[in-house]
Amino acid sequence: MSYRMFHSFRAQLLFNISWVVLILVISSTWILFSTVRLQTLAGETLAGQETIDEACAALETLREPLLEYLSNRSSDALSQVLILSQSLRARLDVDSPIPLDETALRTRELHFLFHSWLDLADSAIEEKRGMDVAGYTARFDEMERIRSYISEENARLSAVRFANQQKSYSLFVSLSRNIQLLNLLFIISISAFSILLLLHVADKMNEPMANLSRMASEISAGRFDAEDVGMSSMHEIDHVVEAFNRMKRDIHTYIQEIRWQRNVEQEYMNERVRNMKMEQMMRRMELYTLQAQMNPHFLFNTLNTGIQLAIVEGAERTSEYMDHLARLFRHNLREKNVIVPLRHEIEGLESFFYILRVRFPKNLDLILDCPEELLDAHQVPASILQPLVENSVVHGFNRSEGRNSIIVRVFETPGRLALSVSDNGTGIPHEDAERLFVHPQGEDGLVKVTGLANVIHRLRFFWPDDPGVVRIASTGAPQGALPGAGYVHPAPLPEYPGAYPPLPELSPPEEGSVVFISIDTGRAACIPS
């Protein structure tokens, strides 16, 4: 309770103002004291002579009635003498300590002379009463000598005292002038100190309010992560600051929750849209498959009849060719799974290669480089290699001379399965590649199920947040650039999120193009067939 009272705004204000007032009172008191003291000292420097002068005057006053009494024994004169004598004795200071200073000592001697004169006067009165004429006459003579000496000594002492007073006064004037100047300086400085102290106090009391105001501005600008406002030493302001800080933290937490909920909703909506697209695509693919399977039995029976006919006629090569063709059709038409074992994909590709070798026996080299141990170890989306090879054959080789080659490689990098289809053809123009990645769908929103676009679309569908799942490197120069300038698309490749291993580097080939597929094997295993 006492802590709260002491640290209340009112107590602090009272305390600080009291300090300033106290300083001003003390300084004013000092100025008053020093002024009064200087006045007292000024009086003291000129004091001392008055007492002796008064005693001299009293002695002269006393002498008349004494002389009158000694002349005619007047009782009135005697009573006057006694009264004046008593009065004069009261003024004298003969019991004071003996001073070392000679002027003071001689003043003391004067007091003793007055006292002796009064004693002699008493003796003279007694002798007058006793009719001792010679006695009081001699006594009066002695008194007159003393009176005369007192007068001379007083004149000498006055001169000495005046000289001393002059010295004292000169010193007094000099020192008092300095004291007054210093006092003026003191009062100016202490006034400045008081004003600055008030400023300091006002600043100190205003600081938490200013901090609150600044924080309110930041909060209104939406910055809730700023540091809390610091506490002051005033209870009321601390209370407001604490409430303000609590309010800021609560609002911050509330907004964070709202944002999190909105993100969750957004993700949920995205997921729903993706599912809807996937369902739409699946339906379209099923439609195409159905269209392609309109009469598969008729096609396979026809091909089998052709194979048997070729065997009968002894055309073994034709028979083998038709056998591969039948396998390829079977592979393409009967496959209903989205994700298939790598072996399955490679077997289909081998049949396709056989057909291509028959078609282009002179100017097309087809190389398949796939280690045996990978075939059963991984799964890939169905029909992703054949369209790429077909794309190279259809679009990559429009030159008449030289040998064309297509190389399909399958290899493993840490955490990924890499599949590359490279050719030494004319490459893919940059604008086409751009369009493939930016607009995989046509302007009407329909999927163009043709070659490379189909593969890119499907791979990015399965791995929407992995931009490196499919990349193209080509010698195809952008418009206006030098021929032969290579590029990698998309480039630069954003960093893959999460804890997955880094993607392998891909460099543009010297000629032709490379379509590079890098499948996250862990995530591929999670895709349902």
Binding site: E44, T45, R145, I146, Y149, L171, L175, A192, F193
Partner: protein, 320 residues
């Protein structure tokens, strides 16, 4: 802004405290100075009074100064008064509350003796300095023995003048202690020259003027050319007399015994103008007088005579 206010606070605090402290110091000093001038000091145990001749000389000033210092050191207050011819000043001593009186007579022995007896009747102790007064009663005395002064002067003369010294003593109002006991001085001189062909010629006397001796010596040597020894009894007279001898070109012809121990006198001795000098140091005399009076006031007893001695400054000693 905060830093400026804080710096201003510090600066104004310093600027306030400094003049305040100096102002307090000056006021305390002023109070002390004025209090000191008004005699606010520890009180003295005794009130003593010193009565000295009205005519002041350097030796007398030195005596008074030494007496003041000794009184202050002994915790006694000392008032200094000048004697007058009728003794009225000394007569007031009994009424001033003084608890002891030191008298340095300047002649007028009877008047002084009367007042001293009045003081004794009132039980106030009295000490004489430099000059004793013939009296039936014993008075405490502090000072040089003037008979001894005469003897030492004679010894110096006999050492410097081998035959027929014709001596003139130059007394002075500036040193009444010697003048008032001139008989003792001359007796001392006579004692040294008894049985020898020396003549002690009539003495001369200078006034209080410090240059008076120059004229006196001029007149003396013109009127009495047989004089071949001068004995001075005052330091100012010694210096003025030497200057007269130099002017008259009689250095070495007239032998001079000086008085005092000032740098000029030592210089004259080294140059051979002076044959020697007799120095009575007044400081110890004043100090001893105060000590004797305090002893007398406190115990009622003290030495009846304290000889403060006479120092001979010869050429050999000055050369050292």
């Amino acid at each position: 802004m905060k830093k400026i206010v804080r710096a201003g606070l510090f600066l104004s605090a310093v600027c306030s405290l400094a003049p305040f402290a100096v102002s307090v110091f000056l006021l305390a000093r002023l109070t002390g100075e004025i209090a000191g001038r008004r005699g606010i000091e520890p009180p003295a145990a005794l009130h003593l009074a010193l009565y000295v001749p009205r005519t002041r000389s350097s030796s007398l000033d030195a005596l008074v100064s030494a007496a003041r210092e000794t009184a202050a050191a002994e915790g006694a207050a000392l008032s200094v008064h000048s004697l007058d011819s009728d003794g009225s000043t000394l007569g007031m001593a009994q009424w001033t509350g003084a608890q002891g009186v030191i008298v340095h007579p300047d002649g007028g022995d009877r008047v002084i003796l009367r007042e001293m007896e009045a003081l004794r009747k009132r039980g106030i102790p009295v000490v004489l300095v430099n000059h004793s007064i013939p009296s039936d009663l014993p008075w405490a005395f502090v000072g040089a023995n003037n008979f001894d002064f005469g003897k030492k002067a004679g010894a110096l003369v006999s050492r410097e003048v081998r035959s027929d010294p014709r001596i003139v003593v130059v007394y002075s109002d500036k040193n009444p202690a010697v003048y008032s006991e001139r008989e003792l001085v001359e007796m001392g001189l006579s004692t040294v020259f008894s049985g020898r062909s020396a003549q002690l010629l009539p003495s001369v006397k200078t006034a209080v003027n410090p240059r008076d001796a120059e004229n006196v010596v001029h007149e003396l040597l013109r009127q009495r050319p047989e004089v071949n020894v001068l004995v001075f009894t005052d330091a100012d007279d010694t210096i003025a007399g030497c200057q007269a001898l130099i002017d008259l070109n009689l250095v070495g012809v007239v032998q001079v015994i000086g008085y005092g121990d000032s740098p000029e006198i030592r210089d004259y001795i080294r140059k051979g103008v002076l044959n020697g000098s007799l120095a009575v140091n007044p400081g110890p005399t004043g100090a001893q007088a105060v000590r004797s009076l305090i002893e007398l006031a406190r115990t009622g007893y003290t030495s009846s005579s304290v000889d403060t001695g006479i120092e001979i400054l010869s050429r050999e000693r000055t050369a050292k």
